[in-house]
């Protein structure tokens, strides 16, 4: 599956021939890292050759992030052997790692929102001009040159605040190139990107590979791993499992190694009877953001809102739920019009909202699992305005159990859970309110493959129980696999309405990008 692209088949041709590899640019063998009694990484092993893109895959909690942080110099391994360009190294700081030519691009780029793009690239090593002071002109010129190389025009003088995640990653890459990094580590760079942005990123990655850099690529998306990477290393439970030539293995084999068991189909959507209309949105408009949005969702139906990132999908969902205002149009739940900009009214009418960004919008990370799960229930649980801890525990325990949330104890802080389990807590939180409609924004973003199918199964089950589901997703296979109907948005308008039988990657992609083609 290539996102909105359909060019995955020729991927194998693009993989670098195996014979070209030279001596490793980076090796890590048997790295151990413990935090108190917790073993985060038992056997971190990786071998990166120059001029290759090397995938590192594993479920969440497999130790990939810890391994990345060791490479980045954030963590120091307790044991193990670490070489860069054949030399043994032991990094004490991030600066040591950088000096050795390693650049890390994290899943969520870490830019300085108040500084300009150019300054973000050169912070700490700005070019100097007269009197030893920073030369902004020179800095701007070098930034332009970098973006020219990457073929991406970004204004070096604008502040980083408000840049799309894709552009933020391009800036991180520009930074890496300007640092002359021989080793580039990308930790789930595509998690928040749309198809076109992914292709742009891959084009850049391939160019760097062809120039001789070693690239370590971490992703949960197998189409990307198989389309882009030359070799694949699998990790499970903090330990190295195996490394394969991409051309000599299959998705099924890799998945089996990752989860240590066979898993069923990735997208277990079960057929359900659809009932009455639950949500009806008519003529919803917010100038400049979305226009004339009409659609309905029926009980037991999963409707996917698809399209490129930035097409206005999330904005529509937020307006429906009453977080953001809209200028005209109406939102009806079960025949009754909802007041705009009033999430409380939406919740009371039976709407649940699972936001895209779990950490910031869906959960209170420092609170316990049970507290989070009971957050939406505070009104119904309260007696004389006070909330009893017992009632809270009972209500949350029911759902946490049904959703199989894996946590040490319901009293543990949510921040200690893996991404997939956090998502389950968010789901539990809303399910406890007995919703009629559940809006889910990017249900499996950043979730590993095992938990992903569990989340899919859960959503499918909920639909089976008669809950109407509006799902926003940038992952085409998820959309095609889960949805009864697909609505495609482009530039704030619905440009495609496809039934399950009509929806293919080509039809969805066409509706999502038609304007871009016709504008040529």
């Amino acid at each position: 599956m290539t996102h909105f692209d359909g060019r995955g088949t020729d991927a194998a041709d693009q993989a670098a021939p195996a014979g070209r590899r030279r001596e490793s640019v980076l090796t890590l063998r048997g790295a151990l890292k413990t935090f108190g009694p917790v073993v985060a990484l038992a056997d971190g092993t990786i071998d990166l050759a120059p001029g290759e893109i090397h995938a590192l895959v594993g479920e969440n909690g497999a130790g990939k992030s810890t391994l990345v942080k060791i490479l980045a110099g954030v963590h120091q391994p307790d044991a193990g052997e670490f070489t860069v360009a054949g030399q043994g190294v032991s990094f004490r700081t991030v600066a040591d790692s950088k000096a050795a030519g390693i650049s890390v691009i994290y899943q969520e780029p870490t830019l300085f929102p108040d500084l300009t793009v150019a300054e973000n690239i050169f912070i700490g090593r700005q070019p100097k001009g007269r009197f030893g002071l920073i030369s902004r002109g020179e800095m701007r010129r070098q930034a332009r040159e970098l973006f020219g190389q990457l073929g991406v025009p970004i204004d070096p003088d604008r502040v980083a605040e408000g840049l799309s995640i894709a552009d933020q990653q391009i800036i991180e890459i520009a930074k890496a190139i300007s640092l002359d990094a021989r080793i580039l580590v990308m930790d789930e760079p595509t998690a928040a990107l749309s198809g076109i942005e992914v292709e742009r990123l891959f084009a850049v990655a391939r160019r760097l590979r062809d120039a001789g850099s070693g690239i370590l690529f971490i992703s949960h998306r197998f189409d990307e791993v198989f389309g882009l990477c030359d070799r694949i290393t699998v990790m499970r439970d903090g330990a190295y499992i195996a490394t394969h030539e991409t051309s000599a293995t299959t998705v099924e084999a890799v998945v089996r190694e990752m989860v240590g068991r066979d898993i069923e189909a990735l997208f277990p959507k079960t057929e359900t009877e659809t009932g009455d209309v639950v949500l009806r949105v008519s003529g919803l408009t917010r100038p400049g953001v979305f226009h004339d949005i009409d659609f309905e969702v029926r009980a037991g139906e999963i409707v996917a809102l698809s399209g490129l990132v930035g097409a206005g999908r999330t904005e529509v969902a937020r307006a429906v739920f009453g977080i953001d205002r809209y200028e005209s149009g109406s939102v009806e739940m079960l025949g009754r019009t909802l007041r705009g900009k009033d999430p409380r009214a939406a919740i009371d009418a039976g709407v649940g909202f699972v936001p895209e960004d779990r950490r910031k919008q869906g959960l209170v990370m420092e609170l316990s699992v049970e507290r989070n799960a009971a957050l939406t229930l505070r009104h119904s649980l309260a007696r004389f305005g006070l909330i009893s801890g017992k009632a809270e525990r009972e209500a949350s325990a029911t759902w946490a159990k049904r959703l199989q949330v894996k946590s040490g104890s319901p009293e543990h802080a949510v921040s200690t859970l893996s991404g997939g389990n956090q998502q389950k807590v968010v789901l539990a939180k809303w399910l406890a309110t007995d919703p009629k409609l559940l809006i889910i924004d990017e249900p499996t973003r950043g979730i590993d493959v095992g938990t992903k199918s569990e989340v899919h199964r859960l959503i499918s089950e909920l639909a089976g129980r008669g809950i109407a589901i509006l799902m926003i997703s940038s992952e085409l296979p998820e959309v095609l696999g889960m949805a009864d109907r697909v609505l495609v948005m482009r530039e704030g308008r619905i440009t495609g309405r496809l039934d399950r039988s009509e929806a293919t990657s080509e039809t969805v992609m066409h509706a999502a990008t038609a304007a871009l083609e016709s504008s040529r």
Partner: protein, 347 residues
């Protein structure tokens, strides 16, 4: 490469808004505070021409000098997403210390006294900085603590003692009386300080690091910026500047004692905020903060010149602070909306 022309199409960024000097002037963060100051002076001078007499201007500048220096120091700290509430107490300690030094060693060169005061302030700033970076307790709490501790030491040290201008050499007091080209000497000192710190913040790597730290502390750490060292530096410089302000205070005002500088910290923070320094760090300039300090002190004088009741003066300062925050917020929201629309079109 698989990036064909269709895919490459969308990346053209929105046309860059006017890069002309006028355009960048209009987008200056300090613009509102500058306009407010110009308007205030113009209106007051129209009603009361004496306001802009030679003596009037001199008084305005003298009144603003000490707050200006403190606001510049505070800005360094605020930009790193910290705050220093102890500056009033630091100023008090150094001012009383300056009085004591002149009494204990009347012949000491004035330059040496300045250096002693600055060093004393830097040490107190370092105490703050070390507590914050080592204990990893929010600066608000630490400096609230040292505000009382430093003041307590000042009380114990001074007791009922006060030193008066007569205890100090005439040359020292004259720094606040003599003028060069119409500017009082201590104001010139303040202007030089503002200029040096402004260039440092704008044109040196450590200066830019401070902005980066306040803008996104986590990113700063991941990027390998020596966060601890830089934050410590900001507190030490702020302390040193508060020390300088303390010495100047002893020159400018008749008496120094146990309560000198009490309550000044809030004026200082207010000056920085009014001058466009974001309270959560990452943006704002020392020049803006200095103008903010000038605006706050000028308002007080202007309202007196306009015979406005003392009570209203405080309320108006409060309104000004809120206005600064609101203007900042509106500008931020508008910029975000523009970018959002531009991006939705561009993807």
């Amino acid at each position: 490469m698989s990036l064909d022309s269709r895919h490459a199409a969308p990346a053209q960024p929105a046309p860059h808004p006017t890069s002309s000097p006028l355009g960048s002037f209009l987008r200056l963060r300090e613009l509102p505070v500058i306009l407010a100051l110009v308007l205030l002076v113009a209106v007051t001078a129209a009603v009361n021409p004496l306001f802009l007499s030679e003596q009037g201007v001199k008084d305005l500048l003298l009144n603003a000098t000490i707050l200006m220096i403190l606001a510049v120091g505070q800005t360094l700290v605020i930009i790193t997403r910290n705050i220093d509430l102890s500056v009033g107490s630091v100023l008090g300690l150094v001012a009383f210390g300056t009085g004591s030094v002149f009494v204990a060693a009347p012949g000491l060169p004035i330059v040496l006294v300045f250096l002693i005061g600055i060093a004393f302030g830097a040490v107190l700033g370092a105490v703050n900085g070390l507590l914050i970076t080592i204990a990893k307790v929010p600066a608000l709490v630490i400096t609230l603590g040292t505000l009382y501790i430093f003041r307590g030491i000042n009380n114990a040290w001074a007791g009922g003692t006060q030193y008066f201008a007569g205890d100090r050499p005439d040359a020292f007091g004259n720094l606040s009386v003599d003028t060069v080209l119409g500017f009082p000497v201590i104001t010139l000192i303040a202007v030089v300080v503002v200029a040096i710190v402004a260039v440092y913040m704008l044109g040196t790597r450590p200066g830019r690091d401070l902005y980066a730290i306040g803008s996104e502390p986590e990113a700063a750490k991941l990027f390998g910026i020596p966060v601890t060292r830089r934050v410590l530096l900001a507190f030490v410089v702020n302390g040193a500047l508060a020390g300088l302000a303390g010495v100047l205070y002893a020159s400018r005002f008749n008496s120094v004692g146990a309560t000198t500088g009490s309550g000044l910290e809030l004026d200082v923070v207010a000056a920085a905020v009014v001058g466009g320094v974001a309270i959560f760090g990452g943006s704002g300039t020392v020049v803006g903060a200095a103008i903010g300090a000038l605006l706050l002190t000028t308002i007080t004088s202007a309202l007196t010149a306009l015979r406005v009741d003392k009570f209203w003066q405080q309320a108006i300062v409060g309104i000004l602070i809120l206005a600064a925050v609101v203007i900042d917020r509106i500008a931020g929201v508008r910029a975000a909306r523009k970018l959002r629309i531009a991006e939705a079109r561009n993807v």
